[in-house]
Symmetry: C2
Subunit: 139 residues, 2 copies
Amino acid sequence: MSEIESVLKKHQIRPTAIRILVYKFLRKREVAVTLNDLEADFDRSERTTLYRTIKTFEKNGLVHQIDDGTGVSKYALDDKVAESGQPQDLHLHFHCDTCQETVCLTDHKIPHISLPPGFVSKDINLVIKGICDKCSNLE
Amino acid sequence: MSEIESVLKKHQIRPTAIRILVYKFLRKREVAVTLNDLEADFDRSERTTLYRTIKTFEKNGLVHQIDDGTGVSKYALDDKVAESGQPQDLHLHFHCDTCQETVCLTDHKIPHISLPPGFVSKDINLVIKGICDKCSNLE
DNA sequence: AAAAACATGCAATTGAAGTGCATTATTCCA
DNA sequence: TGGAATAATGCACTTCAATTGCATGTTTTT
């Protein structure tokens, strides 16, 4: 059994052909991908199948969904999870206004933010927009 | 001329009947509103007109758009701007999973976040999800 | 008062997300 | 093993927010 298959199985995901391909695709990309990105790379496959594939990955904690404010959902592998089995720590996302790419800054933990009395925090979404390292070097 | 009219004019917005009503509506609400909220309160008026009204307000710095991750855009008055003419400071938004309302925690400034070399920050979107003060008191 | 600029209303389009259902593939277990 | 049960896939279709085009109505300007 390949390494990829065992990663999927560890997450209770049946390693079908498409799922393995989608997983490989996510691995290959360092940036978060949209459903359209997937579709563009998988002419042979159905949008719905890709949609459900990514949703299955998400449900089983293999990817996380990113809302970067562009109005289109993006997804990225929870690499740490894939290896350790521990849920991915909260981290921030950076969206580049130039190349439109969104990346996980996995090493940048979100600082603790105190809330007014009565507010209970369960989840945090932090997206920073600007110019990414690749694009700023091109200027 | 009413106070509202002068606020609109200060922002180069012609104070038409609908615009004044929309502004009043935004004032009345302490939470961010969706287009649907507006529409529900303005049977007489057209969705498109409300849409364009809010977009005009946004373009002229009277409201800011909030993406709280629900997939529906919300809008809230830039109160400070309305008074001072200065752009609203970056602040965080809180979305309550219970009542589904989103509020601006205007007094909570977003802490400085250092980025890796090459990344330039232009804008920050920080949304915290959980239970708001009203809903946590009800438990 | 006429022309120009802007606001409004209605119809229609777009695009992402999601659902229903029939078909195909895989797993389970007698 | 073979057939029932379960899950995955493909296709069509729906939903819903966002947005645009265009005709009409209203202000503003001169």
